[in-house]
């Protein structure tokens, strides 16, 4: 018998009762105020400032900001980030964690399914877990961390997370970072500051005064595409001028690098090939030549430096090892002909020479040594503090070397709890463990709580971390050795991630909260992290998509759960914070003579320009008066040898820079008989670390068969029967991955490259499973650089590779877990 309408409607009412969403997904529209033409809005990003055409509530087109004369191709990936199919659309929780919380089956982490929560449910759970961990275990059990976050001063997500969690309780803090940890360890002892994040000698002075520029493992054309704040790309104007000077022979540029870099290809400059990880023997050979041929600046050393004798005794074989560091000795290790080493040393000393170091050489075991040796060579050359001379460790970063305007940058939403206030849980009882650990050692801490390590002259006891929170950070990209991370995550009770796309960090979490992208909120940012060229309005392009929220809202609502949301946001909303930061910046700049309009006028215009700054020479003040302008070293002088480091008694970072063999090294070094290829995992050319990897159309411009490229030279490819475009399995005893072969003459035998930031996508959660996309940190080694810095050693990594045969597994990097277990 046919169902009557009455029966139908009764049944429908019955099964609809108590539905989570009331009837009616459509409602009467508010007044439509959208013009057909749309409107252009201004905003900024790590990739530069952009103009966006917003039509019908959607971003329709993106073009570079008019003032950016050298925009990066990467802005083509922005729309793919906003409208990405891997956006986290709702708050989600891992199902077994939801059922069993801290007693969940952690072996399922990374593979377990998720369920949707309301924001209230999700924030209640987040808060309950913080309460549980603080009251049951105390601050030693909680660790939270951020990374390269999205840009913007009001919404900087690391600040929001640190302030909110800091108002709730204390936690395990970290020191250093993954980019420059070894530099931050060693350079304060040698040059008195970390150097890597300091303004450098202005490019015009380098171009006017340098006769030789050494790019030491440095690829600025690749790396200057992105910046910490809104990148201006101003450095490219000077690189273009340098290209002209290389062409007309007025400046000689030599790239010391195993690989022919993007910068070398752009400038058309020379290359001096050096075996991977053997820069220090090469530098010792240079020092030997400078010393024995009397090419070093004795007066400069006497006036500005200490500890030369201890060092030169080592060079001359008069210390314990009794090995003279002759060019012939160096040549056998670094692969550079001994006469070439001498020639190179003579060239450096012959005229004004600017040394420009990249960061890759300190991201290796004993990474402190090449940086220390660089400073020693610069000191022997005696040109530190002269225009176009000396050493820089940062001209590839955030347009360092572009003169600072002198204007002040805006402040930010505060990172810390307000002065005079206490967290809800004020306990500082770390149960005998350290409250701060080196950042690259947090996985060690999870795996080996209670273990003691030496670090920078002190002892660190690993706390027992039970809960982690990450925001604006992808530790499943930046940390080394994925399989070791999997083991560590099986020990964690709770992992919370706030992000906007389903990366591996989300997949391995228990609670995932959807933040909106920076293009879905209003903000302001400095234009040029170091040049302070102007102030940029970051107009919201579209409302937060799906159920995502701003970090401001997320953490305000978290703080509401312990009654401190008004204190958290200082009773100001987004708009009030914008005006507050702008007006404070305006007041500051008016004192210094930089005019800024009223906020409304600025917001409408989208930008205020502070003009170009005046050229400046790094360490010129020290050179002028080393007593008055002493360095921050223990002695106030350049420390060629360090008594302080010597007193630590470390065998992996001695009192003077020295050569130490690596745990594994290609080209005849340890382990090269089993795994002959050196894998370098440099900063990517097409991403900012792992940011924008998810942008599908843009990713398709550089992937090979949908995988991250593995770059290799023709000899290594041929020896393994690999052709350009093949799928390749890259492996060692730590892990294995699939990548797509790019065969290029830029790469010498024994050297391959997979750029860091490729999203991790294992076949499954088991230890050792194949990474389907090509994350190099599946293969890298998770050891500290030395007891001094305990920094990452990502570039100490040997592998082998083979052509992949059989059916390739689908890429799993850009989505959530897929396994089903009941």
């Amino acid at each position: 018998m046919a169902i009557t309408r009455r029966q139908f409607m009764q049944g429908l009412a019955s099964v609809s009762a108590g539905a989570m969403l009331g009837p009616g997904l459509l409602m009467r529209a508010a007044e439509a105020a959208v013009s057909a033409e749309g409107s252009w809005k201004t905003t900024g990003s790590h990739w530069g400032a952009i103009k966006a055409l917003v039509k019908g509530g959607k971003v329709a087109e993106i073009k570079p900001f008019e003032q950016d004369k050298y925009p990066t191709e990467m802005i083509k990936g922005v729309m793919g980030v906003i409208y990405n199919p891997s956006r986290i659309r709702y708050p989600m929780a891992r199902i077994d964690w939801l059922k069993n919380r801290e007693n969940s089956d952690r072996t399922q982490r990374g593979d377990n399914r998720f369920v949707r929560l309301t924001w209230d449910e999700a924030l209640d759970l987040f808060y309950e877990e913080l309460e549980r961990v603080q009251t049951t275990h105390g601050p030693a059990a909680l660790h939270h961390s951020t990374g390269w976050r999205q840009t913007g001063q009001v919404h900087s997500c690391g600040n929001h997370m640190a302030r909110a969690l800091g108002m709730h309780g204390n936690s395990v803090a970290t020191i250093g970072d993954y980019s420059t940890g070894a530099a931050q360890g060693i350079l304060p002892y040698v040059l008195g500051s970390t150097e890597v994040y300091s303004q450098g000698t202005s490019w015009p002075l380098i171009l006017d005064n340098s006769k030789t520029i050494i790019l030491w493992a440095n690829d600025p054309v690749k790396n200057l595409q992105v910046g910490w704040n809104c990148e201006t790309h101003e450095s490219y104007e000077y690189l273009e001028q340098l290209k002209g000077k290389v062409a007309d022979g007025s400046i000689r540029v030599i790239s010391v690098d195993p690989v022919r870099s993007k910068t070398q290809n752009y400038l058309g400059c020379e290359q001096l090939y050096v075996n991977p990880m053997t820069d220090v023997p090469f530098m010792l050979g240079i020092a030997h030549t400078l010393y024995t041929e009397n090419l070093y600046d004795k007066k400069f050393i006497e006036t500005y430096a200490l500890g030369f004798k201890d060092f030169i005794d080592y060079v001359m074989g008069e210390t314990d090892d009794k090995v003279e560091k002759t060019p012939a000795w160096a040549s056998a290790i670094c692969g550079i002909d001994e006469d070439k080493i001498r020639e190179f040393a003579r060239l450096l000393a012959s005229d004004r020479t600017q040394l420009l170091f990249g960061w890759a050489v300190q991201r290796q075991q004993h990474g402190e040594q090449p940086y220390w040796m660089g400073a020693v060579i610069a000191t022997m050359l005696g040109q530190i503090g002269l225009p176009g001379g000396g050493i820089s460790y940062a001209h590839h970063y955030s347009s360092i070397g572009v003169s600072a305007s002198g204007a002040s940058a805006p402040g930010a939403f505060p990172r810390n709890i307000d002065a005079g206030k206490e967290p809800k849980h004020p306990s500082m009882d770390y149960k005998g463990a350290s409250s701060t650990i080196p950042i690259a050692r947090w996985v060690d801490s999870i795996l080996s709580p209670g273990e003691k390590i030496e670090y920078n002259g002190s002892e660190v006891t690993y706390p027992e971390i039970r809960m982690v929170v990450f925001s604006g950070c992808n530790p499943w990209h930046r940390h080394q050795d994925r399989n070791r991370m999997k083991k560590a995550y099986r020990k964690l009770e709770t992992a919370v991630t706030i992000d906007f796309a389903w990366n591996a960090t989300c997949r391995f979490s228990d609670l995932v909260l959807p933040a909106c992208t920076q293009f879905e909120r209003n903000d302001i940012d400095i234009y040029g992290s170091y040049s302070n060229r102007g102030l940029l309005a970051m107009h919201k392009l579209v409302d937060p998509l799906f159920h995502s929220r701003t970090d401001f809202d997320i953490f305000t609502e978290l703080c509401r759960r312990f009654g401190r949301h008004e204190e958290y946001r200082r009773s100001m909303d987004e708009g009030q914070w914008l005006r507050h930061l702008y007006n404070a910046c305006r007041d500051e700049n008016q004192k210094a003579g930089f005019k800024m309009p009223e906020f409304e006028e600025f917001w409408e215009a989208g930008y205020v320009d502070f003009g170009a700054g005046k050229p400046w020479v790094r360490h010129a003040d020290f050179r002028e008066d080393p007593e008055l302008n002493a360095l921050g070293t223990p002695s106030g002088f350049i420390e060629i040898s360090s008594r302080k480091i010597g007193r630590y008694g470390y065998d992996d970072c001695k009192a003077y820079p020295s050569w130490m063999e690596k745990a594994e090294r290609s080209h005849g070094g340890p382990g090269s008989d089993k795994f002959p290829l050196w894998l370098q995992s440099v900063h990517p050319d097409n991403r900012l670390h792992s940011q924008m990897c998810e942008s599908e159309e843009f990713r398709a411009t550089y992937t090979v068969q949908g995988r991250e490229p593995v770059f290799m030279g023709p000899e290594d490819a041929k020896a393994r029967g690999i052709a350009d475009g093949d799928l390749v399995r890259v492996f060692n005893d730590r892990g294995q991955l699939l990548a797509g072969a790019v065969v290029s003459d830029n790469f010498p035998p024994g050297v391959i490259r997979i750029q860091e930031g490729a999203w991790y996508g294992p076949e499954d959660a088991s230890i050792g499973s194949l990474d389907t996309y090509g994350d190099p940190n599946t293969l890298t080694m998770d050891i500290g650089t030395s007891r001094l810095s305990q920094a990452t050693s990502a570039n100490t990594c040997l592998v082998d590779m083979e052509k992949f045969k059989g059916a390739a597994p689908a890429v799993t990097s850009f989505g959530g877990p897929i396994e089903v277990e009941v």
Partner: protein, 223 residues
């Protein structure tokens, strides 16, 4: 077969099921057989009986699970809420544009349709206008308006316009959507079965006749 009161009501029933997870209360109601009238009326439609049975079996199978609502919610998430890589996102744009992007041309067209009828997606739902449930509710309203034409002949779409919407805006992507739904690993067969059932239901609609409607069975939609 003529369009009748069942069509808007079933559109809204489907819209509700694809919009949000079932609550414990709803699930128990289905398991008590309170949804039988709805399922039976679907089974009366040409060619749907076996898929309706598949759905009934799925509801029955859920009683075997210890956390049936949670597991079904995880199925819902795995099917519709996760990423574009493994799930079956319920958005027309995902299946129609290059790069499987959200908010592509189908969303723009749907936005224009809603604007033309002075409507927008409810603030609570916070989904793009090309979400399957929004499109189904829009379709249900279309049927409603068509069936009520006798009272308001000046408003509402023609049956041809409704059929065109089904063919051009729904049947152009729902086969791909349903195929993806079948591939997602789930504990229960409920949502894969539901996706197939919706596809078959919609496929039958272009065959509806243009004969005069039965005013006595005036449409009442609801969920």
């Amino acid at each position: 077969m003529n369009a009748d009161w069942r069509h808007p009501a079933l559109c809204n029933w489907f819209a509700g099921l694809f919009a949000v997870e079932l609550t414990q209360e709803q699930l128990l109601a289905y398991q008590r057989g309170e949804g039988d009238a709805v399922l039976s009326s679907l089974a009366e439609l040409p060619g749907l009986a076996s898929t309706v049975q598949r759905l009934r079996n799925a509801f029955t199978g859920l009683t075997l699970l210890s956390h049936s609502r949670l597991e079904l919610a995880a199925d819902f998430a795995a099917m519709f809420l996760m990423d574009g890589q493994n799930s079956a996102p319920p958005y027309a744009s995902f299946y129609s544009s290059e790069g499987n992007r959200f908010f592509a041309e189908p969303q723009e067209r749907m936005q224009e349709r809603l604007a033309a009828s002075q409507q927008e997606v409810s603030a609570d739902f916070r989904e793009p206008s090309d979400h399957l449930s929004v499109m189904l509710e829009y379709l249900g309203e279309g049927f409603d308006a068509f069936l009520n034409k006798a009272e308001k002949p000046e408003s509402g779409p023609t049956l041809d316009q409704i059929k065109a919407f089904i063919e051009e805006e729904l049947l152009n992507w729902l086969p791909a959507f349903a195929a993806r739904c079948e591939k997602v690993s789930t504990v229960s067969d409920l949502y894969p079965a539901l996706a197939v059932l919706l596809l078959e239901f919609l496929k039958g609609l272009p065959a509806l006749d243009e004969t005069p409607i039965n005013i006595a069975e005036k449409a009442v939609s609801g969920r």
